[in-house]
Symmetry: D2
Subunit: 268 residues, 4 copies
């Protein structure tokens, strides 16, 4: 079935023949394997260009920052899935990645668009006024403020300073970092309470400063969390807790529906 | 519901408090972000230990080798999924990862178990006899030989030599590489045709030599391909081909079922 | 980690003890198995109430209408995934369901919200004026018009009349059907071309008339398509075409990136 | 890339032109919508044939039996995923389906193969001897006995009798039911403890008796559970508990790894 006008698939990423695999214009076997790090290769795959040294440092830091944070919902879902379906690891990984959503873990892209919106509104060097305007608009439209506030890290998430320091040290453009901090400062006035910068805003703040594209930002937590999931699933195979997590999750669950007369729920 | 005996979830990977996130015994913000590469961090997450320099080199090489190979089935499935469901990038990534299966892309783990089986059977230094025995057993049990043969690369997949060279150069243990080559040599006799080493056997051959655990091997193509999928989905957002791929896929499809009298199928 | 204020899970759907499973207030083994159809049970699960006879008829019709339409993108993605990963059928089904998105297949919910928006704006019995306003707003905000237009069925999708007839015959409330038709009539004027009602608007048009909740509408194409996917995957196991679909999809693909001097792409 | 020999996709399921959609030889709009139930259509999609009245009854009963059992792992994973990623319902449904695995929920197919194996070994009418042999073989090969034993229903799962009664009442062939019961009787001797028939063996026992194909058996719990997931996700949108489930799951988790001196974990 023809959907849309295009019928010929075109790509700039890769081609091959029996002897050679080309990726982004380079010979994979001779120019890339053993020559570039996985992080640099990820940059090349996504942007078509090798990263600057600042971009490599910042991208490594961002991937390390968001890969792992303990038994969070996506990890629990993934480990429960492996316990139920150990026959194919790709399934539990996929289940975990599906939790990389707009509410938690996957806000890097919307936070990046948010920072960019402030930048585009700013005239001169002071981001405060534009930040106030954009935050006020989000509030009017009842949109969440992406990248601010954290259920555990009520003071600033410790990963934020670490990311900003990598950007500073490696000479990355700090424009978006300044924007992110300007937003943090105006938030109490506009929203009525402090919402501190979290890692989902810090990641675009440093990555946009090294030219990483907004449309690929969500790929950063997704790729990073895949590494974390592989760690957890490897542990799950050795020391399974998927069903223990499920047991605990349901232990105090309350059934509020009807039941036939005389039914006594299981004292689980 | 209690399934199994364990009711308390236990983990050695990560814990945290409001100020500090601990991963594998280290302070994430102060000891890891900006200090280690994503590849080294992946090794730490999975094994609990930082990698040797050989392990980092080999793991980087393996991830680069398997991340991207053009419009393969998992990439096509992922791009079609983004075209149909652009609202959430994690969905198309998950769809692509689900194609990391036992037949293509995901054979690294079963190939690793295969190499290990030969190693355990070997007495002395010559792997040939053990290779013959294990291959013969796989044939008897009608199991696929994982990691050998490739639909495009009929001679040896060019990525194999590149991976072996990285292992050699960095001083990795070459035992499993020797095993992999011994198997390649006995295959024509036992199977009746040449099946050349492909990247799915080369990856465990080099990774087992630096101590990467067999149970985590499948995580390598999964993590690597996630990077490739992010590259393709970023291109898909800019230059969509998901529906063009689907159009081509169905263009010459033949309907072999019944139809009511007079029905003329669409000349698509 | 505590996210949000609620810490106690509560549900009205199901509870159990070793002897009895309660679903929506009924004893599953004694009151439901063998007593209700799967369609009626689906209604009970989602709404908490057994369906009227009109609701059963309309829900059956909607599920039958959207379950299957040949080798569409989600089916292709699913069959390619089974070909690559035959070890676990739930993976290919999940990959197919992930293509139930906002652009194709999954528009029933947004179409339902669209119809409801027109209803809420309407004063008296004539939906035309409200339809014009809401369509014009969607256009101003550059939102797609969900449920109108189809790549193949340029005249009205034949499933639309069939669904409307079931609703009519069974005595369902036809309000949303009238709204859907009013929108179809104003579309040429506001949008500049005819966009005929498709199945994704017809489904909410009939289901909202029997009290099916808007928030569950997307579950209808998802459940229906799962049945279609099981059909295709059963065929795929017997007569595999997943790799043939992938071969065709890539056969005429054009690589528009750079390549090293002398590289000749595979004449696939 | 050509993988395997087939290059032309062929299907017997569906074709269409702008006016007509053909499914399994019938005109979808004129012969199926409003004429057949979703359950009967599922049978038609999978087998190519409309079901007998016994087959419809048994298939309805099987789908109703396995659709819902409270806050089980797959439902918890799905609800956590919606809480994190509410932007696209297909993602949480897919995450839930991925838990339809070999250990829980998805054992219908392997249980069906197990019953069939006993049938093929049986000479005459007594299944006991063949049941003993096959169970003993499974034990020797350290394979799980699929479809027997349940973490909650230590006596026979109440759904089993309900399913068998539907089969009996509608005149279905009871051969596989007899086999399933023969296995249940020999298990204590061979395995050393009673393992009662659960719903995952009862489903193939009744479905194989009405000619449902073994290769499609796993589609039954997958389709059924999709209905259950839609029910839970609809409730989750109104009365969210995804994060409460995650909170409880992690509340008593124990970190057994190292930590820097002085680190005090969060008293969550």
């Amino acid at each position: 079935m023809q959907i849309g006008k295009e019928t010929i698939p075109k790509t700039r990423i890769s081609t091959s023949n029996p002897d050679t695999i080309i990726v982004r214009g380079r010979d994979l076997a001779n120019e890339l394997i053993g020559k570039v790090s996985f992080t640099a290769y990820f940059h090349l795959l996504v942007t078509g260009k090798p990263p600057s040294s600042a971009a490599t440092a910042v991208l490594d830091a961002a991937l390390v920052a968001i890969a792992e944070h303990g038994l969070v919902p996506s990890v629990q879902a993934s480990r429960m899935t492996l316990a139920a379906a150990p026959e194919a690891m790709q399934g539990p990984v996929a289940a975990g990645i599906l939790g990389c959503g707009s509410v938690i873990l996957g806000a890097a892209e919307s936070a990046g668009e948010f920072l960019e919106e402030v930048r585009l509104r700013t005239q001169g060097q002071d981001f405060t006024q534009a930040a106030k305007e954009v935050v006020a608009e989000y509030r009017r439209e009842k949109r969440a403020i992406p990248g601010y506030g954290h259920p555990l890290h009520k003071k600033r998430d410790p990963r934020v300073a670490a990311l900003f320091q990598v950007a500073q040290t490696t000479g990355a453009d700090m424009t978006y970092v300044s924007i992110a901090e300007a937003i943090e400062q105006v938030l109490p006035d506009v929203v009525g309470k402090a919402l501190m910068l979290n890692v989902s805003a810090a990641i675009p703040a440093v990555l946009l400063g090294v030219g990483f594209p907004i449309k690929a930002l969500k790929g950063v937590p997704i790729l990073a969390r895949t590494a974390g999931l592989v760690g957890h699933l490897t542990e799950e195979k050795e020391r399974p807790i998927g069903f223990a997590l499920s047991y605990q999750a349901g232990l105090h669950a309350v059934y509020e529906g009807d039941a036939p007369a005389g039914f006594v729920p299981n004292e689980s």
